[in-house]
Amino acid sequence: MRLPLLALLAKEPAHGYELKARLEQTFGDAYPSPNIGQIYLTLQRLERAGLVKSQDVVQSDRPNKRVYELTPAGREAVVTWAEEPSDEPRVRDDFFMKLALGPMAGVTDALSLINRQRRHYLGLMRSLSRLAEEAPENNKIGRLLIEGAMLHLQADLDWLERCQEVLL
């Protein structure tokens, strides 16, 4: 959550609810709607770390709002983040641990694990397909997010087949 918020603030100062709305608008329905409490908590942490600063803006008809803006250190963090290649997990770590250790511990067997996991992935795929169809044509970012998740799932399923071939 930290870097997406910093990136949004790199564009222009904003308060918490605006950031929430912008995240939702950008990523569409596929992205779990961010919790406002978590956004404020993250903003406080970023402020303590010196990456953002805030000031209260007085509003006559409503309570004051706190507007956040990026500090030079915050901008640098966003730039560094943007320029770094991303190192994301390539294996579902938790499942991999179950597969490696579950049968050894005698609490399950590889075939049941693989079958359960495949059913789960297919169930996810079904929901993602529905999301993909419902996503508005013009929300390119939201659609790409869903498409990426679907391609990852396909790769996860292909890898499950490999597990099957090697272990069974």
Partner: protein
């Protein structure tokens, strides 16, 4: 309660190919069934016997042993000619390569399939019009297959397979050669026809295609190792797949 017989059932279905390197056991004792109007997907690694199974069930190859029941009637002992008749009337096929008749227009490819399946001329024409309309291909009805893109040709292949209103559609990797947009179009078509009651047995690697099925069978080494309904996992749980890090 009287249960209607499954549309398709196999019992102990087995196929052994004799090769120079010795016998290859491609399908080993498969018991499966497809209910009336049901959509079943078959997944499994390459070489697990998926395509062979589909060929056996469609009568394109004779099984080494075991039984095939179609609509309550035994089919595994039928002659090639009887199988051909059965297919023309009751089974539609779609493969990865569309195999349209290149010398006939798109419209004729679909219409002839309906005629061969026993429709009258008028019924065949109406069916063709309805299907091409459904597929958004009305404007290309008079085109030759070669003038169409791969995705469009595959949509015509699906239309042709459905032209005679088969009770069962057998399809092997129908999206295998298609890009994402054309895959979506073909899948939409399968889902719509299933929603209207079409029974489908789909062999595929494509998880998106398989996830549309009512049930997914997993084949491994010629045997069924899993057979379970597809239950959509709520999107809230899907969120871990979509989680943005950082």
């Amino acid at each position: 309660m009287i249960l209607e017989p499954p549309l398709l059932r196999s019992v102990g279905l087995t196929k052994v190919f004799q090769t120079d390197a010795g016998p290859v056991h491609a399908v080993r004792g498969v018991d499966l069934w497809v209910g009336q109007g049901e959509f079943v997907a078959v997944m499994g690694p390459s070489g697990s016997g998926k395509s062979t199974l589909l060929h056996l069930l469609g009568g394109l190859e004779p099984p080494t042993s075991g039984e095939i029941w179609l609509d309550g009637k035994r089919a595994d002992g039928l002659t090639q000619a009887k199988w051909a008749m059965l297919r023309r009337r009751h089974i539609g096929f779609v493969f990865q390569f569309f195999n349209l008749v290149s010398s006939m227009s798109v419209a004729d490819n679909v219409e002839v399939a309906a005629l061969v399946g026993g429709a009258s001329r008028r019924q065949a024409r109406e069916r063709r019009e309805e299907l091409l309309e459904d597929l958004g291909l009305t404007a290309k009805a008079q085109a030759a297959p070669s003038q169409l893109s791969g995705g469009e040709q595959q949509r015509v292949a699906v239309a042709r397979a459905l032209a005679h209103r088969p009770s069962l559609l057998l399809t092997d990797e129908p999206t295998g050669n298609l890009d994402s947009a054309n895959t979506s179009a073909v899948l939409r078509l399968l889902r719509r026809s299933h929603a209207k009651g079409q029974a489908i047995l789909l062999v595929t690697h494509d998880a998106r295609a398989a996830s549309m099925a009512d049930r997914v069978i997993n084949l491994f080494d010629g045997m069924i190792v899993d057979d379970a309904a597809v239950r959509p996992v709520p999107v809230t749980a899907a969120s871990s797949v979509l989680e943005l890090r950082g």
